[in-house]
Symmetry: C2
DNA sequence: TCTAGTTGTCTATATAAATAGACATTCCAT
DNA sequence: ATGGAATGTCTATTTATATAGACAACTAGA
């Protein structure tokens, strides 16, 4: 048995998730299309209409496109590998896995550090920090939605610098920080929330990988703490020691 | 708006996931119980019966226990932190986060290496390898379900050694491998499949974190490749560089 | 041109999820 | 003891999900 009933997740969604996963794994690379609806219905032990609901959801996401009389073609098939190391940098990490990379600054505010942010940045709670809300895309598809905090005293101009350069590394350099390293990365996974769905253009019920990362300068002083969300069907992390 | 309708994921499951997450985050630590059903219903904008379905699912998982007249008490609230580094070892990693740790050998077979396993272990496809199916628990709750492969020529006796010691590190030592290091760890996340649900005692629709890890000896020769699945609501990873 | 194989659309029915309301039961502070 | 606040149980209704069957529309190869 491959799909589960009466568990709070509709069959069509379970099937959509599995097909999406199969596409990402390259299971259908041989002919570049998904198996016929009747074959999928047999495979999952459900009615053809249920499979059609699943394929409609994937078409909505832009992953497949049905062509009457021919079959259902795979439009997009990617799982970007994202290395995590002491020298983790977003743009370099993506490397040549995508032709077109973009960093977009959604919003920026200066605020008082909450107790958690203060602890992570090793500053006193209430100290001013700059918060950046950023969205990153590869080949026009969103691959991460990040919230980052920087100590205001050192990096008050980070928003302007990031807007001009589109890169944290470049922005740091403009502000006189020549180099930095990744100190800690925490990884967990959650169901996508409504905001994730909007930002990352996810289907409801999808999974997001969540990282909490701390970057420090070469003296070990924290320079950036960020919480990032990645669509789990498009991204995997690799930790090389 | 906090919950989404008509998206293939039942409201009660979305709400159960959010409450589980809130419990893990410590949102309800003040009084050790979940808010009253009517308050949750108001918060999520749903009927009280829908909230009751969510709480029933969490009770089934052993996370909460309802007491008539009193409220719904939090029974379990943990997210075990699992460090990933060059010296990653399961038992040491758990450390004192759990009182009672256990490693159980579910099954073992000797088989020919598939192309993927051969590539990971840097051997020829078809070479014999030992496969171990293991389950790890912390305080009686399953925290990982792993499938590991070892080259038969060097580690033919790994199953026996593991059964006797309950530890990979110990088993390696018995077979003459004094030390080893983690070379690569890949992390991704998926919806739990039926097998995960059985092994890890997960609720349907739950998320599993999947790691693919390669351990090598000090000369850099691969000694173990393993695929592990962790319940995402109980586990997080920390990568310290 | 014909036909097998595929997706598209329609109707109908059964089951699960969600809402709504009423009232019982239990705990606990007053 | 009493009343407020909480969970437990029941009935009824509406909406979403899933199944079933039939047939139309389109594609590609024989």
């Amino acid at each position: 048995m491959i799909v589960q009933r009466q568990n709070g997740v509709a069959l069509w969604r379970q099937i959509a998730d599995r097909i999406r996963s199969s596409i990402a794994s390259g299971d259908y690379d041989a002919d570049g299309r998904v198996p016929p609806e009747l074959a999928l219905a047999a495979q999952f032990g459900v009615n053809r209409h249920t499979v059609r609901s699943a394929l409609a959801a994937l078409a909505e996401e832009g992953i497949v496109r049905a062509e009457q009389g021919r079959g259902t073609m795979i439009e997009r098939k990617q799982r970007i590998n994202f290395p995590i190391s002491r020298r983790t940098r977003f743009t370099e990490g993506i490397g040549d896995q995508a032709r077109e990379k973009e960093g977009l600054l959604l919003a920026t505010v200066e605020e008082e550090a909450s107790t958690e942010i203060a602890r992570r940045l090793a500053i006193d709670a209430g100290t001013m920090v700059v918060r950046l809300e950023t969205l990153r895309t590869a080949d026009r598809r969103p691959v991460s939605r990040a919230t980052s905090w920087f100590p205001s005293d050192r990096f008050g101009g980070i928003a302007k610098a990031y807007r001009e350069t589109g890169s944290i590394t470049e922005a740091f350099r403009d502000l006189g920080l020549k180099d930095y390293v990744r100190a800690v990365t925490e990884v967990t996974a959650l169901h996508a929330e409504v905001e994730d769905r909007a930002d990352l253009k996810l289907s409801p019920g999808a999974i997001v990988l969540v990282t909490r990362a701390l970057n420090c300068d070469l003296e070990g002083r924290p320079v950036q703490f960020s919480v990032s969300r990645f669509p789990a069907d498009m991204v995997q992390f690799t930790i090389e020691n």
